[in-house]
């Protein structure tokens, strides 16, 4: 069996929707959380984790049927899956392929770990973090998140 066939067996093709490929191995579920696609979703999902990849060794893949993700939605995942590629599928064809770029500020995705931060109080605001390379800084209290970003996802 060739590697190509192997991949199609793991994750079946979709007719319309979005395929997110080259997700950092083990991060697929966190990616879903960030995208706001939880267990209650109506979209049909296929998730493959720890797939062998020539480029990364191991990677995760997500296929979401019936939904084309917008660039702003997908950019939020760049934090935990910086090498992800987004393929928009229409009628089994890839009509658009793009990488992810980290936005300068991410809002409403990560909870500030600082219990004294105003963004954790009952105020009419979303959390906001400035993205500095692989680290995040809270726009309110300046707290730096330097590792395990995924564990702070709301």
């Amino acid at each position: 069996m060739t590697p190509g066939q192997n991949r199609t067996l793991l994750v079946s093709q979709i007719k319309d929707g979005t395929v997110i490929d080259h997700i950092t191995a083990g991060e697929a579920l966190n990616v879903l959380t960030i995208l706001g696609i939880a267990g209650t979703t109506t979209e049909s999902l296929s998730i493959a984790t720890n797939v062998a990849s020539r480029k990364e060794g191991r990677k995760d893949i997500l296929k979401i049927s019936g939904r084309e993700l917008r660039k702003e939605e997908v950019d939020r995942i760049a934090l935990i899956a910086p090498h992800a590629t987004i393929n928009i599928i229409r009628d089994y064809e890839v009509v658009e392929k793009k990488g992810v770029t980290v936005p300068p500020v991410i809002k409403g995705v990560v909870k500030c770990p600082n219990p004294g931060c105003i963004s954790n109080a009952k105020e009419p605001i979303e959390s906001a973090f400035e993205v500095l390379g692989k680290e995040l800084r809270c726009c309110y209290c300046d707290w730096m998140i330097t590792k395990n970003i995924a564990s702070h996802i709301i």
Binding site: G116, I118, A121, E123, P124, L132, Y140, C141, D142, T146
Partner: protein, 298 residues
Amino acid sequence: MRHIISIRDFERRDLDHLLHRAGEFAGGGFDRDLLAGKILSLLFFEPSTRTRMSFASAMARLGGTCISVDSMEASSIAKGETLADTVRVVSGYTDAIVLRHPKEGAARLASEFATVPVINAGDGAGQHPSQTLLDLYTIKQSMDLDGIEVGILGDLRYGRTAHSLAYALSLYDVNLHAIAPKGLEFPEGLVHELKGRGMEVRNHHDVRKVIRDLDVLYITRIQKERFPDLGSYYDVASSYRITPETLQGVKDRLILLHPLPRVDEIDPAVDSTPHARYFEQSRNGVPVRMALLSEVMG
């Protein structure tokens, strides 16, 4: 509309301008009706008598009026109300808001909802830009801010006054020496950022080894809570205490600063040396705050 929230928001020319203005106010040659007819609200959700008094004094010297809301009243305002709402309402009464709040980032939030300028007078363990400005101002009274060796001593990991000062100094040609016990050094992210702003940070664990090279030593407290037991705290704290002996052989122009109140960080015997500037530093609070008030309302 100009808010004063964090020292990070300032560029060098803003700081230079404010320091220059503070100098003019300290010199006494200024328009005493500059803020006549203006009303400032002092919105203090936690007590901080010194900061509040120095803002009130600064406003009075410029001919303006203050409405003061102390921590008890502020907490009743805040009962069941968000800070966002309080600030929206108070914006309708006054021309600017000075905010002191226990939550970090409160001033940033307030600036998003206020329709008048907000000045951060300390938010929790967070930013306190008027403190940093008066630190800079005090250094500038003695020397140029460029081409100097500055040591910052204490709990540099958590001490926001230290972070804020380091940021401000990175806008100048300053060699920074971070003097802290093991484990309480500047956070890596901050060092990295300072580096990106063109400032190298040298780490030291022993103040005696570096003090002779310094022009400025900024002393902050080492908190007991950072240590597993009192014994190890006292060992560390005593090795960082500044005494007349520590000062042997230092440069004549070395100045010692401390945001006050101090506990044991500086031996009172140091107060009478020509190096001690911490009381002068606290007096500088009024002209520096006059500069801030005239900046946002003048």
